[in-house]
Amino acid sequence: MTTQMLTYLFVGLSFALYIGIAVWSRAGSTKDFYVAGGGVHPVVNGMATAADWMSAASFISMAGIISFVGFDGSVYLLGWTGGYVLLALLLAPYLRKFGRFTVPDFIGERYYSKTARIVAVVCLIFVSFTYVAGQMRGVGIVFSRFLEVEVNTGVVIGMAVVFMYAVLGGMKGITYTQVAQYCVLIFAYMVPAIFISLMITGNPIPQLGFGAEVLDAEGLGSGVSVLEKLDGVLMDLGFGAYTQGSKSTIDMFAITAALMFGTAGLPHVLVRFFTVPKVSDARLSAGYALVFIAVLYTTAPAVAAFARLNLVDTVQDTAYADAPAWFGNWEKTGLIAWQDKNNDGVMQYSAGAALSPPKPIFSDQKGLHGERLLKNEPSASANEVYIDRDIMVLANPEIANLPGWVIALVAAGGVAAALSTAAGLLLVISSSISHDLLKQTLMPNISDKQELLFARIAAAVAVCVAGLFGIYPPAFVAQVVAFAFGLAAASLFPAILLGIFSKRVNKEGAISGMLVGLMFTFGYIAYFKFYAPELNNSGYWLLGISPEGIGFLGMLMNIGAAFVVSMMTAPPPSDVQNLVDDIRIPTGAGIAHEH
């Protein structure tokens, strides 16, 4: 069977599995729809959380980015795992004890205010849509390369599948589908990683192979470790050393912090801890989630290093005519390009942007050697090869010459990662609309059945909007996602944290904090990314902090504003102070679920 057919088969089978699970676990009540009935086992919830968490950005883009930036890429590894410690220690158990359906539920009750609830809904929708845009784009990339359909058709197919199980099954359908998706995606990630680690170092465990010696042509130890070799090879080509950062320490610090606090403030992750039976289960569940996540996150940097080594080996000083088939395949999708600047028919790869403007603009003609010709001006750099970071994980099995079924598996895994996260996000968007906006604010008299119907309609609308984002993508996957974290860190995380750990912060404080944090962070990002992108460099940044890391500063401002305003206004009423006392004590979480 050809790789193409295997890919159709694997992706098709995985879709059939997801839809089958969705039909089997259809939601019958709003409680099923919002929190899967509240009886999910912590290990199952941990696995579902991991799938929910690991998005197209984790699966497709992260190793690719690390591959190109080396040590600087640690911000993603630290940020996207360290947040779980904050979740397990500071938020999850208390939110479970509080025991309602949504994050705005907590903020609305704790700050005894419909305004606070609506501000939280606005923050939530902002964060979730920014994030979901990246997922749909991820689905599009996978489809366009592996199934050779148009990116837009790919997005529509993805939307249809998510629609099936998110709208029908709600949280219940999503939870059990995500367990299946975790298994697909982790298997798809690990298999090529193990193969490549074996090939390069002879060690089957990528986490260890990462630090091991590179094997020479005879399969014997060469005395040089993977990272030493990579440092050497890259410096020869004019790049910085792989293990040395180029970002300033303060920027590394701020980005990591924004990603960590953002992780802990992401509504689609927080809501997962409403689904377990007990407070102690919420803690354990966060622990299991991190175990399942760590499997991928400790493999990713190894994959990144191996992929970079492989790439340089394959491309550098290779005649285009002798380039392996994957090069042409990815060239077709426009994610790789080659401009023969010195007309020698050989690809020279080195530091610096190959093209000007940096993204390739293809003409319809073919060059002397069969390459796609570009309309870009050649840049001053001697580098002739453009490579999009997003392809590193997807192209890795081909670059390493692995069998067709491994390539097919990676395609299915990429789709699983994107769909599981998209579904989780769509669910929190729809529940915040049907539950927080309609039931709790605008239409308090609707029945449970009607609320469930509205939840389904909201999910359907959200799927369509997300699809539009996928068809007209704002920027590339991980970059878009990175901003969602800054916004979550600056708006929702402090409001929830202060709501649990302070009895003094009141509604005026929380609302002004959220608004200050959100507006500052959004304004800063919008200024440097859209309004004045030419100024987006460390010379103009506030305190040397890039837009990716500014959420950390936004968070500090949020906390500062919340305290100052709270001190100037009346303390929260005594029943709210009693609520805080109550959520701090684990006893009695089972009954807290009655609503």
Partner: protein, 121 residues
């Protein structure tokens, strides 16, 4: 304060939950919370130390040491901190459970069965 529970307007808790008969005094609640905060502070110092400390602020200095073929600072940033994070969560789960039992504020078995029945209906 004799009744710890916060009853929201319009909410009907089942009348015979074990919790409603149990009294958690103010002093117990305060003692438990203080013990919890102390434990949290210890664990968060470690959390900060391995990630922001070893992985970022001290990474350049630690890179002079070699660890299983890695520069040590680089290893913490791309591997080590993640392992420590996992361990921290399970340590917290275990130690807080001991503290809860000591203060008599744990979530016990009655609640699970109650929730399961509700979930199935």
């Amino acid at each position: 304060m004799s009744e710890q529970h916060y009853h929201h307007q319009g909410e009907n808790f089942p009348p015979a939950s074990h919790h409603d008969q149990q009294v958690i005094t103010d002093a117990v609640a305060k003692g438990y919370w203080r013990a919890n905060l102390r434990l949290l502070a210890q664990l968060l110092i470690v959390w900060f130390g391995v990630s922001f400390g070893f992985g970022i602020l001290l990474a350049d200095w630690l890179d002079q040491f070699s660890f299983f073929g890695f520069k040590l600072g680089f290893w913490f940033a791309q591997q080590g901190a993640i392992y420590v994070f996992v361990v921290l969560i399970f340590i917290y789960a275990r130690r807080i459970a001991v503290i809860e039992r000591r203060f008599g504020v744990d979530d016990d078995e009655h609640d699970i069965t109650a929730t399961k029945k509700q979930g199935a209906s």
